[in-house]
């Protein structure tokens, strides 16, 4: 179930790395939300379409989002002040299934925030790989370290943690013989594809959170298509807002 609601902003701050975090009073939405789901936010009257942003935390009836400045909508969002109200539709979509004895969360850049909440919801079994472009773009490391049994950092340029990509760090863990019941990944599409391939090679079930441009956000307009393999084995278009954003990696057709 999802609702539309005017939500008061309780906190808005820069997180470093160019990212902003925003907490808002979500009322009944807070209780409904699950890690991996997203909210669809109206960003000013002069923009017709809402913006999808992952939910990445909850405290009481407040929800948290973390976002990058991408264009006019996120710019508008970053210029709000605490006390103002946002028009929010949510929670939307299908989140992560989290079960087993150990789950590896693999996040890249702005893909890390939704994984934080997922990890926080299963702290005993959570381990994280966080990948950033460079040290300057790193976010949430302390919070991940607090939530997870282990947190591994990697940067494209080696300016923090290991040098290299997310899937390489994950592969090192897998190659070292670590056993995971699942991998949950969120980040750029190229990263997700590489992580999915790695997971497949080690036969670890993998879930990925996809992005696509959206209209309604609820499954009615069919614009947020992503190609997947259907029950009958044939390729079809699923919809990120309703069938996702979290998909079983093995169902995703990466090269559309």
């Amino acid at each position: 179930m999802s609702v539309q609601r005017l939500c008061r902003i309780t906190e808005l701050s820069e997180l470093g790395g160019g990212a902003f975090q925003l907490w808002f009073e979500a009322g009944e939405m807070a209780g409904l939300a699950q890690p991996g789901q997203f909210v669809h936010i109206q960003c000013g009257k002069e923009r017709l379409l809402r913006r999808p942003i992952s939910i990445c935390g909850r405290r009481g009836d407040e929800l948290r989002i973390i976002f990058d400045l991408r264009g006019k909508g996120t710019e508008w969002l970053s210029q709000r002040t605490a006390g103002e109200c946002l028009d929010v539709l949510g929670p939307l979509g299908r989140g992560f299934r989290l079960a087993g004895r150990r789950i590896l969360f693999v996040g890249g850049g702005m893909g890390t925030p939704p994984l934080l909440w997922a990890a926080q919801s299963v702290p005993e079994i959570a381990e994280a790989v966080l990948a950033f472009r460079c040290a300057d773009r790193a976010i949430l490391i302390g919070e991940f370290e607090a939530a997870c049994e282990q947190t591994h950092i990697t940067c494209d340029d080696g300016s923090l943690g290991a040098k290299g990509f997310a899937h390489e760090a994950a592969e090192r863990l897998l190659a070292a013989g670590k056993a995971y019941d699942g991998i949950c990944a969120c980040g750029p599409r190229a990263m997700l594809k590489a992580v999915a391939e790695t997971a497949a090679r080690y036969e670890v079930p993998c879930q990925v959170s996809l992005e696509e441009r959206m209209g309604c956000g609820v499954g009615a307009c069919l614009v947020c298509a992503c190609k997947t393999i259907g029950a009958d084995g044939a390729e079809e278009y699923s919809h990120v807002c309703k069938d996702g954003p979290v998909f079983d990696a093995e169902r995703v057709v990466w090269d559309e």
């Binding site: 539309q4 109206q42 017709l48 379409l49 809402r50 009615a220 069919l222």
Partner: protein, 305 residues
């Protein structure tokens, strides 16, 4: 004053109020049905149906524009049979009229679709000859009076329920197409479908839509839609389902004054999921303030200069 009478008739179909959902923006009703009771609507016009299932176009399928949106869904749908089997019975469980929107590759396909769906018990057929997002069929039928007439004639012959023909705004003279459809026995006309448009990502230098071009809808197109409703009302005296950017009860009133018997709401649901009910309420308030006792009195009541 009592509550205004909100009943309207659209090509012999009685609607409890003039607010209809626009095809393709409302799926088969299930999603928005979680936000409110669908029987509050005048009618639901379902996602465009084809004979065989269609995958639709590759993503991205949507781009934002000033006060509008471009889409290139390309008629993704499970096919008419699957609709009849899996969606129609559920929809029939609500006290709301159901309009089936159909697209064919040939005039014959339109005929088959009309027969199947009217037999299956939809209340009305909306004939889409104006989809800008598919190669065969769609828009091609809607830009020439001859092919519009052919499709209308075929559907009219095969349908047991009233037939409404949906016109494209991408034409030099929409009244010509309207008259062609009227001449072949269309019971109503609906307009407008989307205007062909484009956006480019200036960093990647790629069109934002994978299909390069898409259909423009939303408030941006409202003045064009209103003009066409008015022109068509004057040219072909058929009931009209007016749409294109309706975002408020005042917009709905404007559409009806221009000549619409009922009004469809589409893109604006993306920003306000409850838009159809809000618009209905605002329209009632307008009628109340103006002392109009029946919404159908608005239809065509504009006084041109």
């Amino acid at each position: 004053m009592n509550k205004p009478n909100m009943e309207v008739t659209l090509g012999d179909v009685k609607l409890k109020n003039p607010i209809v959902t626009a095809s393709g923006t409302f799926g088969f009703g299930r999603e928005y049905g979680e936000f409110y009771d669908l029987s509050e609507l005048g009618a639901i016009c379902v996602k465009g149906l084809t004979l065989s299932p269609r995958q639709g176009n590759p993503p991205p399928r949507i781009a934002e524009t000033p006060a509008g949106a471009l889409n290139s869904v390309g008629l993704q749908n499970p096919g008419a049979d699957a609709f009849i089997l899996r969606e129609l019975p559920w929809l029939r469980g609500h006290a709301v009229k159901v309009i089936a929107n159909i697209s064919g590759n040939t005039a014959e396909e339109y005929g088959v679709l009309a027969e199947k769906l009217s037999d299956a018990g939809v209340d009305m057929i909306e004939v889409n000859i104006s989809c800008p997002n598919v190669k065969a069929g769609g828009l091609a039928f809607g830009t020439s009076p001859d092919s519009a007439a052919l499709v209308t004639r075929t559907v009219r012959r095969h349908s047991r329920v009233p037939v409404m023909v949906k016109l494209s705004p991408n034409v030099t003279d929409i009244t010509e197409i309207a008259r062609a459809a009227a001449g072949e026995g269309a019971d109503a006309l609906s307009l407008i479908n989307t205007l062909l448009g484009m956006r480019i990502d200036i960093r990647s230098r790629r069109p934002i839509l994978k299909n390069n071009m898409g259909g423009l809808s939303g408030p941006a197109v409202f003045p064009v839609a209103l003009r066409m409703v008015w022109q068509v009302k004057n040219a072909a005296n058929l009931p009209i389902l007016g749409m294109g950017g309706v975002a408020s009860g005042e917009d709905a009133a404007e559409m009806m004054l221009a000549g619409a018997s009922a009004v469809a709401v589409g893109t604006v649901c993306f920003s306000d999921p409850c838009a159809p009910l809000r618009i209905r309420r605002e329209l009632e308030e307008y009628l109340h303030n103006e002392g109009v006792d029946s919404v159908s009195k608005l239809t065509g009541a504009v006084k041109p200069w």
